[in-house]
Amino acid sequence: MNELLTLTGLGLFSMIAEIFNFRKAIFPVIVLGLLGLLGLCYMDWGSYNSTVTHFSMMKVDNFSIAFTSVLTATALFWFMMSRSFFEDQTSMSDHFSLVLFALTGAFCLTSFTNITMLFLGVEVLSLPVYVLTGSRKRDVASNEASFKYFLMGSFASAVFLFGTAFIYGATGSFNLENIATYLSTQPQLSPLFLVGLLLMLSAMAFKVGAAPFHFWTPDVYEGAPTIVTAFMSTIVKTAAVAAFFRLFYLSFSGIHGEYADIIWAMAALTMVVGNVIAAAQNNVKRILAYSSVGHAGFMLITILVMNDFAAKSLLYYTAAYSAAGIAAFLVLYLVGSANNGETPLNAFDGLVKRNPIMAGTMTMALLSMAGIPPLAGFFAKYFIFVSAVENGYIGLVVIAILSSLVGVYYYFKIIIAMFFGKPDNLPTYFLTPIHRFLLLFVAAIIVLTGLFPDFVMGLMTI
């Protein structure tokens, strides 16, 4: 709760600072504020009695603190990476406060105990992101992506509300605990409830970008400014998938059998579609967009397994994926900004000769996403597969492994371009100190969380 209040305060501060023209102070204050938030998470961890709820709307437990920490750390990296982007634009506080408010939505998504709060979180997170997607006002692609995202997002919100209405109709409550109690006392499920559940499931699948509700993802990711894409594929994705998990864990896990097959099919389809389509792409931004669809498929497996170890694996997966995502999108952004915003595969040719730090970190990030040991991404996949195998989903793990093999192919296309391509007539890059630090630091995180997975997994003790 303290985290949420602090963050809201930070958002208000950066909005007001803009009005009173304290722009120079905004960035340092945000960085310090986020570091302070991490400190708060550290202090709160384990000390919360998980029965304390805030007006039956939110419950701060280790699940929420663990995800809040990952989100905060990712946001910190994201601000460090995007400083120069915002300083190019005219009014940075608009963006900064938008992002901070989006982040408050993300925080709500990790700690809600009531469908109302879930809906609020989704909207508070989504609305600023619609705006951010369109933040390059003169760019048609950016505008198109923003509009498309908004249109489809509104549609998904409507579906979500529709589903909520059905569930309320069946159970008479928005409270997740009451819904779970209702389910455990009901010998026969009413069709009303079932339809509501399916509609909510569809809406959540839309938010995490799972097939067949993934169509917005590649278009929006590609159209949005790269920095915003980074925000979407790390923070938004983490918050959405955590919310998905929390919703089903807290209220629907009692009727797991009713929807298990659907999630199974959805996960399989998402992994296959995301990874297979990515194989044919020649634009790195689009490759990463499809790959993020594929990763959503891997994360869905944890919702299928739905136990404590799955929660740990999901936390670890999001942390590993966010770290790799920040690194990959930062390099993508740097390459793109020297190339009129275009990021075809051949813009990466011979990057290792032009800037070894960028190429090195990008390689680590891609290898981690591909799941090459001993990097974090390998263990992330490994833990999810272990939990799935232990619960008997062997067929799904086979599909998952095959699709990650396809993943290796397109990740290596980029790596091969960076190491063996001829860098003729391509610019060399000079990194700002903050970017250099960030690249090296994230690379270290990718290695270290891989070597010592328990430091992340241990955060989560439900």
Binding site: K148, M152, L198, P212, F215, I262, A279, V406
Partner: protein, 623 residues
């Protein structure tokens, strides 16, 4: 106090990191002090822990650094186990390690790769400490692989010489064969007990069936065969002498090659359950002991003689383990570390003085020119042949007595091995230090005693070689209770042991007679080994190590090479490549089709979503 153990592996790791990263920015002096100092600091802590435990109750203590991996029902902690066995190894590794680091400062001083060398040595110490400290098979395995890596790097230290780098590769490959056995053994133990931590494995040992425990222990022992150079995986160790002499002393005599002994002793609970494995260990040990000793008779390279002697002594240790005398085996590890390190460093001092001459046919009479080297070498030599009251006397006697009591045939064969040792070591000693100098004029002119940094370690090791056995005898007997649960039932009557002690005096006397025979042959009669061209018959066969390398070459390497060339030239191109390229092409084609769904048309997307939802509802309701 045991908590301090965390720092023991830390210092050498820091030393490695600083020297490895700073490299040329550090002067050679600073590098030497840093490398030696880091191991010395670890040694100091090891001594503190040892003294503290001596006064305490001697219970094993587990020190956990952090939870390493937890996945499903598998969990491994990065923890250290401090008990009397690991403390003993700690003392030997850091103690002998410090001396050899000090020696290396003098020995390697003029080498271009001095800093690289010192950093590798520190890294080696780090991994060796992990190996003996881990409280589970997984941490031990990291150490096990790490020392293998360092051994490879250091054997091929002068990598510009093709022969040396092939020797390094050979060591690496042979160790891999063993490591596979070890890994399978650990996996089997894990599937049988659900754990890799020593405590819980041994606690559940009674629930494992005998065939499984036998297989597991034999697999583990295959790992030991590779690392500790037992038949048939021993051929890498003599070749490993390509590395600088301090490496031979530290890694290929005192510490790494005894890792197998440590591992078997650590798993003594499992071995005691599997009599077949015990016999296997004992017979492998004794056959290796005799076989390697016989090769020692005809070698002319001073380091090769010592290398075969090491293989042979390792055989003694395994024979001890195999008859259930785990304590005696570990005792011999310790005394052997003292005197074999001393002998190797002495040999290094000789090689240093002779300007990289290693052939004993060109030595002789060095006693006068190299007084300190000679005196210390003599003490080491007396220790290895088991001269009364020297360190080897206690440990070797203990091994042979235990063998005679438990498996007499092994005992008799070991006595024979001890006599062979006495002879070929005497031959080495007399040919090197006695008689007339046989080298070139120029070598004779340049003969000089080594600097202090090299002779001080020699002197310290000489003291340990003389007194180490006597000092540690009581400690070993009372504080190392390995495999005790089972030995108690086969306790030997006191008077039988007493009788066996008397037999040992006879054996010792016989060993001294062997030394005298060697004296007569090589000093009084002035015999010297034939030159390569003059060798005939048995001598030539032995000189060429029974052609075992050639045998392996034609039995294993050549058939493997032809199979792999078939696989690579035909199977790979016509089957694998087509399969792989076909799959890739298929995926690409599929991808090309699938991407068409991504039309960019928002209306289509929303229709797809609605259809998707309808499908979900339909599936749930109708199925």
């Amino acid at each position: 106090m045991e908590q301090l153990v965390k720092f023991i592996p830390l210092f050498p790791l820091i030393g490695f990191a600083i020297i490895g990263l700073a490299n040329r920015r550090l002067s050679k002096g600073v590098t030497g002090v840093l490398a030696t100092g880091s191991v010395l600091a670890s040694f100091a802590i090891a001594v503190i822990i040892f003294m503290n435990r001596l006064g305490g109750d001697g219970q094993a203590v587990t020190v956990t650094l952090f939870d390493w991996i937890t996945a499903g029902n598998f969990s491994a902690k990065f923890s250290f186990l401090v008990d009397n066995l690991s403390t003993m190894f700690l003392l030997v590794i850091t103690g002998v390690g410090t001396l050899i680091h000090l020696y290396s400062i003098g020995y390697m001083h003029d080498d271009d790769g001095f800093r690289r060398f010192m950093s590798y040595l520190n890294l080696f110490i780090f991994f060796m400490l992990l190996l003996v400290l881990g409280d589970n098979y997984l941490v031990m395995f990291i150490g096990w692989e790490g020392v293998g890596l360092c051994s490879y790097l250091l054997i091929g230290f002068w990598f510009k010489n093709i022969d040396y780098s092939s020797a390094a590769k050979k060591a690496f490959v042979m160790n891999r064969i063993g490591d596979l056995g070890l890994l399978l053994g650990v996996l089997l133990i894990f599937t049988a007990t659900g754990s890799v931590t020593y405590d819980s494995v041994f606690a559940q040992a009674a629930n494992i069936t005998i065939p499984v425990v036998t297989t597991a222990t034999i697999l583990l022992f295959i790992g030991a065969m590779g690392k500790s150079a037992q038949i048939p995986l021993y051929t890498w160790l003599p070749d490993a002498m390509a590395g600088p002499t301090p490496v031979s002393a530290l890694i290929h005599a005192a510490t790494m090659v005894t890792a197998g002994v440590y591992m078997v002793a650590r798993s003594s609970v499992l071995y005691m359950m599997a009599p077949i494995s015990m016999d296997f260990v004992a017979w492998t040990g004794v056959i290796t002991a005799l076989f390697a000793a016989s090769i020692g008779f005809a070698q002319t390279d001073i380091k090769k003689v010592l290398a075969y002697s090491t293989v042979s002594q390792l055989g003694f240790m395994f024979a001890a383990l195999g008859v259930g005398a785990f304590t005696a085996g570990v005792f011999h590890v310790v005394t052997h570390a003292f005197f074999k390190a001393l002998l190797f460093l002495g040999a290094g001092s000789v090689i240093h003085a002779m300007h990289h001459e290693q052939d004993i046919r060109n030595m002789g009479g060095l006693a006068k020119k190299l007084p300190i080297t000679h005196a210390t070498f003599l003490l080491g030599f007396l220790a290895i042949i088991g001269f009364p009251f020297f360190s080897g006397f206690y440990s070797k006697d203990e091994i042979i007595i235990q063998a005679l009591a438990h498996k007499p045939i092994i005992g008799y064969l070991l006595i024979f091995g001890a006599l062979m040792t006495a002879f070929y070591m005497s031959r080495l000693y007399f040919l090197t230090f006695m008689g007339k100098f046989r080298g070139t004029e120029e070598q004779q002119h340049h003969l000089h005693e080594s600097p202090l940094s090299m002779t001080v370690p020699l002197m310290v090791l000489a003291v340990l070689s003389v007194a180490g056995g006597y000092l540690l005898q009581g400690y070993m007997e009372h504080n190392l209770t390995l495999g005790a649960a089972v030995t108690a039932s086969t306790e030997i009557e006191e008077h039988t042991l007493h009788g066996l002690h008397n037999v040992m005096w006879g054996v010792t006397a016989a060993a001294i007679v062997m030394a005298v025979i060697a004296y007569v042959l090589y000093v009084v009669k002035g015999q010297r080994p034939s030159s390569d061209a003059d060798m005939k018959g048995l001598e030539k066969t032995i000189y060429n190590k029974y052609y075992v390398d050639e045998l392996y070459e034609s039995l294993i390497t050549k058939p493997l090479n032809s199979i792999s060339s078939f696989l690579s030239n035909w199977i790979d191109i016509n089957v694998i490549d087509r399969l792989v390229n076909g799959t890739g092409g298929g995926i690409n084609a599929l991808s090309g089709q699938l991407r068409l769904t991504q039309s960019g048309n928002t209306g289509f997307y929303i229709v797809a979503m609605v259809l998707g939802m309808a499908l979900l509802v339909a599936i749930t309701v109708f199925m």
